[in-house]
């Protein structure tokens, strides 16, 4: 008999100003795809993707902010039980970096204490060839990003969803910081036990749906 490698389920939330490429990063990670001028995400509850880290498998449940970020109206539910967060900014847009600081602060207040946060400067492809020239599109230096990450204890990467530069690395690095799934305990900050939890969408109700034109 062989044992399947242990799979840890991880809720990961995305934060960052509109149009910094949050959804594109996820699309690259989940389906190794990139779409120019992608429309804002519609209709996906969350995306899932497995990722192998060492000898175990991490299954990410990736939550997009959808229509709750534009006016900073995220529900507490969004942060609830999140074990990881990507705070994304656009390295060509200084305002998005200021916003990233705000989101990190928000996470420290709202999310569980042991959440793993990665700070991600996206759109590296726009500056990759002319990093040092004076007319570079880069407006947030790598040093600024690193400094914020060190100050707040965050992982730090510069990525490009377009070229896929560093995208997988972000998720692997987060995965290696996530502790092994412990036997179910009622610890603070961890998911409360399954005792007495019920599956509303179990067979009894699902069977009613079999005749719908999906």
């Amino acid at each position: 008999m062989s044992f399947a490698p242990s799979t840890t389920s991880v809720k990961l939330v995305l934060l960052g100003e509109a149009a910094v490429g949050k959804s594109s990063l996820v699309l690259r990670f989940v389906s190794n795809d990139f779409q120019e001028n992608k429309e804002p995400t519609i209709g996906a509850a969350f995306l899932t993707q497995k990722c192998t880290v060492g000898d175990r498998t991490i299954k990410y449940e990736i939550w997009d902010t959808a229509g709750q970020e534009r006016f900073a109206s995220l529900a507490p539910m969004y942060y609830r039980n999140a074990q990881a967060a990507l705070v994304v900014y656009d390295i060509t847009k200084p305002a998005s970096f200021i916003k990233a600081r705000h989101w990190v602060k928000e996470l420290h207040e709202q999310a569980s204490k042991d959440i793993t946060i990665a700070l991600v400067g996206n759109k590296y492809d726009l500056v990759a060839d002319d990093n040092d020239s004076d007319d570079s599109l880069r407006k947030v230096s790598m040093e600024e990003g690193k400094a914020l990450a060190e100050e707040e204890g965050l992982l730090f990467f510069e990525t490009s969803a377009k070229s896929s530069h560093n995208v997988n690395e972000v998720f692997v690095a987060i995965g290696s910081k996530i502790p092994e799934a412990k036997p179910v305990t009622e610890e603070l900050g961890s998911r409360p036990g399954n005792v007495g939890r019920i599956d509303l969408s179990g067979p009894a109700l699902r069977s009613n749906l079999s005749d719908c034109a999906c």
Binding site: G43, A45, Q68, F71, S73, A75, Y78, G196, C212
Partner: protein, 447 residues
């Protein structure tokens, strides 16, 4: 902002969020605003800091309530979901079950003759129940068999009754049931808040008993289920449904001005973020006080913190107690909802009991005394009185569609009736959840 929408929704209570989620998932462009800085409106769950800021702004929470403020999630409106009820159905059809986790409520109790007992939910339990003597048990068993077997198309199951003509009292009388038995059937199973149903046609009561029995059959311990972290998760779950279909949310945004067309129809709102236009608005009663009227009923609710389980419940972690009006000389039932850390609404070691009833006298807190007696010592008690409102009109002339206040019933069936009614008033169509469900399941990504 200076933007056009199909619908503007004001208030993030459960009713508004369900409507918002359904409209967005049907492809409509929705702007959803709340004047307060949290989700849920009247149906929110508050943490300890928010709760005492509302009820006792000067003193704050007492030191006996230990733990982090965030470990408390206290419902402003106490209600449970019927496991087989319409809200459960909507949750499944819209896939909001992805965001909200549920647990059972462990027990359903009824007050009789100064004591509380478990409500029997099927023929077997009826035979074991301490609520009835040996002959009454047999009569109760035959009554439940009649309810279970009743089939509109099979005349032999009707025992000569027409559920649309005969009253419930006539059916009780035929089965020879005692008054105390009628009390727990009508109030703890059919969950009627008073005795008006006795003289009405029997069908709605029979339907309610069937809903109760089927809900118990679903998960076992009681007919009720409850979301982890409090009822406030429900509006948040439907708000997320709306958001993932493109709904835009603005909290902490009071309405500075309403815009109207020349013929006095709704046209939009002005807020600190600018102008938003839409031909239709959906709102809770607090946004249009001049367009609602009082139902004449006021509800008193008492939030009680305990540091022990409720006596005589076998240390149950959660339960409902119905105190039928007859039993304590009232016109309206008293409901008690009890929760604990199992549902992540209080820290370990604490219990939350929420008592509610419709006010009948000028000293409403005294009316709650029979319930207080059942609970034993309390660490602290917060009381509030709510007036119930309903819209003055259907909304078609103004395109302003207003929901009702959450009533005194102990579950969400009337709130989901309001959702369906609102949807019909707004769109002219019956709410067809099978369609919404198909869309959601089609697009949602599940691996």
């Amino acid at each position: 902002m200076d933007e056009d929408f199909d619908y503007i929704v004001l208030g993030t209570g459960l009713t508004e969020c369900v409507i918002s989620g359904i409209l967005s998932s049907e492809g409509k462009k929705v702007l959803h605003i709340d004047k307060q800085n949290f989700y849920g409106g009247e149906s929110a769950s508050l943490n300890l800091t928010q709760l005492y800021a509302k009820f006792r702004p000067t003193t704050g929470a007492p030191p006996e309530l230990k733990g982090h403020a965030r470990d408390y999630m206290i419902d402003l409106i106490p209600k449970f979901l019927m496991a087989n009820g319409e809200l459960s159905n909507i949750l499944v059809r819209t896939d909001v079950t992805r965001y909200v986790e549920f647990k059972q409520i462990s027990g359903s109790y009824v007050y009789r003759g100064g004591r509380i007992s478990k409500v029997p939910a099927n023929e077997v339990e009826a035979l074991k129940s301490s609520l009835m003597g040996i002959f009454e048990k047999r009569r109760m068993k035959r009554f439940l068999e009649f309810v279970a077997a009743y089939d509109d198309d099979v005349a032999s199951t009707h025992l000569g009754f027409d559920l649309d003509k005969n009253t419930m009292d006539e059916i009780y009388t035929y089965h020879g049931l005692e008054r105390g038995t009628k009390d727990f059937i009508g109030h703890a199973m059919a969950l009627w808040p008073n005795d008006d149903y006795l003289t009405q046609p029997a069908r709605p009561t029979i339907d309610r008993i069937i809903l109760y029995v089927q809900s118990v059959a679903k998960y076992g311990k009681s007919p009720y289920i409850y979301p982890m972290y409090g009822l406030g998760e429900l509006p948040q779950g439907f708000a997320r449904l709306s958001a993932i279909y493109g709904g835009t949310f603005m909290l902490d945004t009071p309405i500075d001005e309403f815009l109207y067309t020349d013929d006095k129809k709704f046209a939009g709102v002005i807020t600190k973020e600018g102008k938003a236009r839409a031909p239709v608005v959906i709102a809770d009663p607090t946004y249009f006080p001049e367009r609602v009227k009082s139902t004449g009923q006021k509800v008193i609710r008492a939030l009680c913190f305990l540091d022990h389980p409720v006596p005589n419940t076998h240390d149950s972690d959660s339960l409902q107690i119905v105190i039928p009006q007859n039993q304590v000389g009232r016109k309206n039932d008293i409901y008690v909802a009890v929760l604990s850390d199992v549902h992540a609404v209080v820290p370990k070691g604490y219990y939350l009991a929420i008592i509610s009833t419709i006010i009948e006298t000028t000293t409403p807190h005294v009316e709650l005394e029979p319930a207080f007696k059942l609970l034993g010592p309390r660490v602290d008690t917060l009381m509030g009185i709510a007036e119930l409102y309903e819209p003055l009109d259907e909304g078609h002339e103004s395109n302003i569609f207003i929901s009702k206040s959450y009533d005194a019933t102990s579950h969400f069936e009337s709130a989901t009736d309001d959702v369906k009614d609102l949807y019909f008033r707004i769109t002219g169509k019956q709410l067809d959840l099978s369609k919404t469900g198909a869309d959601v399941f089609g697009k949602a990504d599940d691996e």
